[in-house]
């Protein structure tokens, strides 16, 4: 296995085009453990962390640009980002431990395509766009369209994610993410739920998005839950409908980490709690 650390997006595109066995990596916190566990090594390991555009985090013209290879420690350490997107930043701060977060990235979390990836539901509820570079140049793709199954993405050969674009939230808007792990850290989500909620001047919900992790082959957006929320106050009845819609939308499996029944029930519970947390912040002058 050869290691290369190109300095530009164009070099990465050229390297990938020239060798189908070549593979990009960022923090390598998924890649290295997977290789140790016996997955085949790439011919060339392309380190994305030396490209400034891929590691930057900035706000321009009302849009957050988060480099696909920026360590999540740079997100948790960014107060302005945390004020705008507290749920996403919280999710980034859940990944592994401090040591892991000095390496782990949103790009890796998304492209590793684990159904349990913690940052992906928050990217999805915030309608994040991914800038994808490849042989045909750059294009912008909705994050929700990238995972296509456990360990699989819709990226084509030679393509990789450069950065994420997220519009600054509207006033009285906030997001939240919650996961269920048996431990308190160093664990993998049995269920995760992200919510983004906007409130109008009367405290009624004016827009919402709910997404679930670890309950289906890919992240699940739950429009029925959002519909139940929009247009009125966030009452217990509405929350019960949200929970039921999430339990319904979940399509989990029985495995060593949890049962179908457990995951469905807890998906509803966490969604409900995430909505309350996001709405609490939104009502408290969240967003701008």
């Amino acid at each position: 296995m050869r290691y290369v650390a190109p300095a530009s997006v164009a070099e990465v595109v050229a390297l990938l085009a020239g060798d189908p066995e070549a593979r990009v990596f960022a923090g390598a916190t998924d890649l290295v453990p997977q290789m140790r566990a016996g997955r085949p090594e790439p011919s060339v390991a392309i380190d994305l962390k030396k490209i400034p555009r891929l590691t930057g985090v900035s706000l321009t013209d009302g849009t957050w640009r988060i480099g696909a290879a920026a360590p999540t420690a740079d997100l948790t350490g960014n107060a302005a980002l945390a004020a705008d997107l507290p749920g996403l930043v919280y999710a980034g701060g859940l990944i592994g431990s401090d040591q892991i977060q000095n390496r782990a990235t949103l790009g890796g979390n998304l492209c590793n395509a684990s159904p349990a990836a913690d940052s992906v539901p928050s990217l999805v509820v915030n309608d994040a766009q991914a800038v994808v570079a490849g042989p045909g140049g750059e294009l912008t793709v909705r994050v929700i369209d990238i995972p296509s199954g456990p360990g699989r993405t819709s990226l084509q050969p030679g393509e990789f994610v450069v950065e994420f674009l997220i519009d600054r939230p509207l006033p009285s808007t906030s997001d939240a993410y919650l996961r269920l792990i048996p431990r308190t850290e160093m664990d993998i989500a049995i269920v995760g739920a992200a919510a983004r909620v906007s409130l109008d001047g009367d405290g009624n919900c004016s827009s919402a998005a709910i997404a679930l992790a670890a309950v289906a082959p890919t992240v699940v957006l739950v429009p029925a839950a959002a519909e139940a929320l929009v247009g009125g106050p966030i009452s217990d009845d509405v929350l019960a409908t949200v929970a039921a819609a999430c339990a319904e939308a979940a399509d989990p499996i029985d495995d060593k980490r949890g049962t179908v029944a457990y995951r469905r029930q807890v998906a509803g519970v966490l969604a409900k709690r995430a909505v309350l947390e996001a709405a609490g912040r939104a009502g408290n002058g969240g967003g701008r």
Binding site: L180, P182, R183, T184, E185, M186, D187, I188, I190, K256, R257, G258, T259, A261, Y262, Q265, V266, V269, L270
Partner: protein, 748 residues
């Protein structure tokens, strides 16, 4: 906090000096077996069975042998086949399968090659033809007639009549006293239940590792991580068919054992590979191998029935215990029987235990082996009695508490024990006296472990500058070197840091049994004290020579020789060692002994938990443990043992479990899905050291290493019940199981 009954106060014993091996560990200098690199060293890799149960039809190593870097390939056929009655036969067949593989992960062949990768690739190129056999993973199923048999020569021992047919039930243990019918007839309350637990791994952070260097002289040197290098020597010799004198074992620092390193897995393989290759061979397990092929403590099915009078006196106990021992029989059921009702005085009981082989890794000891599962059953039911009678759970236990002279269920009369004192310590603790926070549930439980003595040796040498070197044969898995130095300091009257405690290899110190059964500070400490007392006699003799007086006129106290007539200035130990060359040569003493009179250990614990009733997640909010240490030689390490036991018990109670798929393949062989607790899962474990000195030890030591893991299982189950009304009788009490119990509204 320490509650001391009556013991002398000491100058060094009971203080908390920095441990001698501490700095090296903190800065990363301590050498573990996997750190060793020798010139020309090869790497060994083991090929393991993918099947839970299969006949080995053929092993073809020809491709592997021709691969790059490969220097040696071995299989079971390269070791002598021990006769059926040899006590080490099962151990050897666990280290290398013969005829059949008995669990997924069972070693089938091993390779030594120049690099790790070459060794792994070659091992994977060995072609094994298996005839897959039906397997059995479940204790109750394995006990049934007609279940797939692991061995065709197991005839259950301990039955009233010897069975004619082989089975998976290796042995039966029975303890019986009084009239059980009568006992239940006189009870006003009867409670009973069936309790299930899964196999649990010891979870030591350091995987098994060794380096073996076998010379052309037919001798070998082994560096390894173990709880007892003399046992490594004898077991390695047994598997190789060698005389022990050909084997020298050098103990490395050990990164945790908890019982799991009381037996061997790698050493004879490394020796044999090294002999064939003519090079040193290193073998280091991966975490995956550690889970699949070492450790665990048994899974169990335990049924207990207790009867008590209306005022809380337990009148009868019936216990049926089945422990799975993995692929070969062990002693686990017997140990469970010894512990199941021991914290209670019961006049009428029938305790019956069965040891069952199943197609899982062979069990090894784990901290008070078999006692926690037994306590889970009994102490949960005792809690039910307390609720039924509306009695305080500590008062109920005090009412039934045994003390010196009462007869233990497994036979002997209790010597001086500190259970009552532990119960009182918890009852009087700030924790127990303050009500649980709103919404929290509280649970109490007690636990017993008998502790052992066994053989130990120590050599104490005085250096010319008045310092001392204490050499013992006990690997230090919990701070025992610091305790040895403290006892020697107390005896010799010199500063604890003027003493260098060392763990010696098999050729520099006398035979010493494994560090197990909470015995090192007790038994090896006794040998240290005995050697120091011998030295004090010698020191008096040297002072007499220096003063030219009768030895009877010399007294030794506070590290100095004084003349009874006051005719001479006192001599410090260093004054005497400085002159040793002129008074008879170097001063040293050795003691070897069989320690008798180990003090039984008890622990009583209380915990408060909160339960998220929508997700089933349990948070341990507060935890206090009281334990009788006899005398705490180094209280930091006593507290460390108490806390460590509790933490491992919390992991066992809440999340740890072996998960096998239907084919008998382990599904969670890593710390991601085998969930030992992380630091942030835990509250500070508050400790109360109770000191009821053991009269059989010069400083009153009881072992402290094990009993702490016994009460957490029932304490947490009782606390969860208090918080939710759900009685959970199956471990682990993981979020899905707790939520299912809450959903089904299973109040007791």
């Amino acid at each position: 906090m320490t509650i001391t009954e009556q013991r002398p106060s000491y100058r060094y014993v009971g203080t908390r000096p920095v441990r001698h091996d501490g700095l090296d560990k903190v800065v990363g200098k301590a050498r573990y077996a996997a750190d060793l690199v020798l010139p020309g060293m090869l790497y060994g890799h083991i090929l393991r069975s993918p099947h839970a149960h299969a006949r080995i039809v053929d092993i073809d190593t020809s491709v592997a042998e021709a691969m790059p870097g490969v220097r040696a390939v071995i299989t079971g056929a390269d070791f002598p086949d021990l006769p059926a009655d040899d006590p080490e036969r099962n151990m050897t067949r666990n280290l290398m399968a013969r005829d059949k593989v008995l669990y997924e992960g069972h070693a089938v062949a091993a390779v030594a090659a120049a690099t790790r990768r070459q060794a792994r690739d070659a091992a994977e190129a060995i072609e094994v033809t298996y005839e897959v056999l039906p397997h059995t993973l479940d204790i109750l199923e394995a006990m049934e007639p007609g279940a797939p048999l692991l061995h065709d020569d197991i005839l259950t021992t301990g039955l009233d009549s010897e069975p004619s047919e082989p089975s998976n039930v290796a042995n039966r243990t029975c303890y019986e006293r009084g009239d059980i019918e009568q006992g239940f007839a006189s009870a006003d309350v009867v409670v009973e239940g069936e309790f299930l637990t899964k196999p649990i791994h010891q979870g030591y952070i350091e995987p098994h590792a060794c380096v073996a260097d076998t010379g052309q002289d037919g001798k070998t040197v082994i560096w390894c991580s173990s709880q007892g290098h003399f046992r490594v020597r004898s077991q390695t010799a047994a598997m190789l068919g060698w005389d022990t004198s050909r084997i020298k074992v050098i103990p490395a620092e050990i990164g945790g054992g908890f019982g799991g390193k009381t037996t061997i897995y790698l050493e004879p393989l490394a020796v044999e590979l090294s002999a064939r290759a003519g090079r040193p061979v290193k073998m280091v397990m991966s975490r995956d191998e550690v889970f699949r092929a070492t450790g665990p403590t048994p899974g169990s099915v335990i049924r207990v029935k207790l009867g008590a009078t209306g005022d809380g006196r337990i009148t009868a106990a019936k216990a049926w215990l089945a422990y799975e021992s993995g692929a070969f029989p062990g002693v686990w059921a017997m140990l469970g029987c010894m512990c199941v009702v021991s914290p209670y005085n019961v006049e009428n009981f029938l305790i019956e235990g069965f040891e069952v082989v199943v197609n899982k890794p062979v069990n090894a000891a784990y901290r008070a082996p078999s006692a926690p599962m037994a306590a889970f059953a009994t102490d949960t039911l005792v809690d039910e009695i307390a609720r039924r009678l509306d009695m305080d759970p500590i008062d109920l236990r005090l009412l039934n508490c045994p003390s010196a002279g009462d007869q233990a269920p497994y036979g002997p009369k209790w010597p001086l024990i500190g259970l009552r004192e532990c119960l009182e310590a918890i009852r009087d603790s700030e924790h127990y006296r303050s009500a649980p926070a709103a919404g929290h549930g509280r649970g109490v439980a007690s636990g017993f472990w008998f502790n052992i003595g066994e053989a130990s040796s120590a050599t104490v040498n005085l250096n010319e500058n008045g310092t001392a070197t204490v050499v013992t044969g006990s690997p230090d898995i919990g701070g025992s070197r610091a305790s040895m130095a403290l006892m020697a300091a107390e005896e010799l009257g010199i500063d604890v840091h003027a003493i260098q405690p060392v763990v010696g290899d098999t050729e520099v110190v006398g035979f010493t049994d494994v560090t197990e059964g909470s015995r090192a500070t007790f038994a090896t400490g006794m040998a240290v004290v005995e050697a120091c007392r011998d030295l004090k006699g010698q020191l008096r003799g040297r002072a007499a020579r220096m003063w030219d007086c009768d030895v009877e006129d010399v007294e030794w106290a506070d590290g100095r020789a004084t003349h009874s007539g006051g005719e001479h200035e006192p001599l410090a130990l260093a004054d005497i060692t400085a002159e040793a060359g002129r008074t008879g040569g170097p001063l040293g003493a050795t003691a070897s002994l069989n320690a008798r009179g180990a003090g039984p250990a008890f622990s009583v614990q209380v915990t408060d938990v909160s339960v998220d009733d929508e997700t089933g997640r349990v948070t341990v909010e507060r935890y206090t443990t009281a334990q009788d240490a006899g005398t705490a030689i180094h209280p930091d390490y006593v507290e460390g043992q108490m806390q460590g036991g509790v933490v491992q018990g919390i992991g066992w109670a809440l999340n740890e479990e072996y998960i096998h798929d239907a084919d008998g393949v382990m599904e969670n062989p890593g710390f991601l899905d085998y969930r030992i607790p992380v630091a942030s899962d835990l509250p500070m474990i508050e400790t109360i050291i109770v000191e009821v000195p053991n009269p059989n030890h010069p400083y009153g030591v009881r072992g402290v290493g094990e009993v702490g893991i016994v009460p957490p299982l029932p304490a947490l189950a009782n606390a969860i019940h208090d918080a939710t009304d759900a009685r959970i009788r199956e471990l682990p009490m993981s979020p899905p199981r707790v939520l299912a119990a809450i959903n089904s509204g299973n109040g007791a």
